[in-house]
């Protein structure tokens, strides 16, 4: 029994190490979709407004990791188009997208926290279920 397990592990290790040593994009996509779903669950089920904001940050992080992985995947083609001298350097198109996403997320966090503090001044609570002034 133990020898069968050992042989199986050996075959698995050989199969893994026969692949080229790059991170497969599909693994990155699986991880980021799991993180996005966790953030979605938090955004749907939290009652604290700051908790909802933190879950939104998780979803943005998942999108950022996706953009960086796609940059690794399709980068060299765009490098040849944009900079003709550099052939072996990764093109930073996806990373620049991530920089702008980080900027927008910083704006979103500062505005959201200012709104939450204004809301707390008005209602003395940040429970989302109690704040239903604009509800039908």
């Amino acid at each position: 029994m133990a020898s069968w397990v050992f042989i199986f592990v050996q075959i698995l290790v050989k199969r893994i190490y026969k692949m080229p040593q790059i991170i497969p994009v599909y693994h990155v996509l699986v991880v980021t979709s799991i993180i996005f779903s966790i953030g979605l669950y938090g955004a749907l089920s939290r009652r604290n407004a700051i908790g909802i904001l933190m879950s939104l940050e998780l979803m943005l992080v998942a999108g950022n990791i996706n953009l960086v992985a796609f940059n690794n995947m399709i980068g060299p083609q765009y490098t040849l188009q944009a900079f003709s001298a550099a052939q072996d350097v990764l093109s930073p198109v996806g990373q620049i997208f991530v920089i702008f996403v980080i900027t927008i997320a910083a704006c979103e966090v500062s505005l959201g926290l200012a709104l939450i503090i204004a809301m707390y001044r008005h209602y003395r609570s940040i429970d989302i279920d109690n704040i239903n002034l604009l509800k039908w």
Binding site: Y17, N72, L90, A105
Partner: protein, 176 residues
């Protein structure tokens, strides 16, 4: 009997090893963000997940983004969230019920979302040819060049938007 693991195939020079460890830590800390009862613990878990994200960026070859992630998210955003928590709770740590009555349906929806996304991704072809040597200095230099040459207008608009957001959040949080 030959060894299964060759000398140049040691696991600690393999980027996939670090990617799997970091993504496991990232998923665990993300679950901590969502499920922690105390909101301060949740914010600290969010800080840990940002640091793990920076590690994933390093593994994926985006060093500048890793530094920016640690500076902006793990440094500034977490501190901002902690200050907002301290300003908006009467007693730290002992506050309201932390999830609403639609949490069961939210769990169904999020699990279905994850399964649908993974299933859609499984139908695609994600193979790619890696470059020979992605260098760090060239990476940062190329980011700076294209941020200053190709995407200058977007850079200006982003800085203008940061200024507007700063003024707007000052105006919103001002005591009147």
């Amino acid at each position: 009997m030959e060894t299964a693991v060759q000398n140049n195939h040691l696991f600690f020079v393999d980027p996939r090893f670090y990617f799997w460890i970091l993504s496991f830590a990232l998923i665990v800390s993300a679950i901590g963000v969502v499920l922690m009862r105390n909101i301060v613990h949740s914010a600290l878990s969010l800080c840990l997940s940002f640091i793990c994200t920076a590690g994933v960026f390093v593994v994926l070859g985006a060093e500048f983004l890793a530094a920016a992630e640690v500076l902006i998210y793990a440094g500034a955003v977490t501190i901002l969230i902690l200050f907002a928590i301290m300003l908006s709770q009467r007693i730290i740590g002992r506050d309201m019920i932390y999830r609403n009555r639609q949490s069961i349906w939210a769990m169904f929806v999020s699990i279905a979302m994850a399964l649908i996304l993974i299933g859609i991704y499984a139908t695609g072809d994600w193979s790619y040819k890696p470059t020979t040597e992605p260098s760090m200095a060239n990476n940062v230099r190329m980011i700076g060049r294209s941020l200053m040459i190709t995407y200058t207008l977007a850079f200006w608009v982003a800085s203008l938007m940061l200024t507007i957001a700063m003024i707007g959040s000052l105006f919103l949080a001002k005591k009147d």
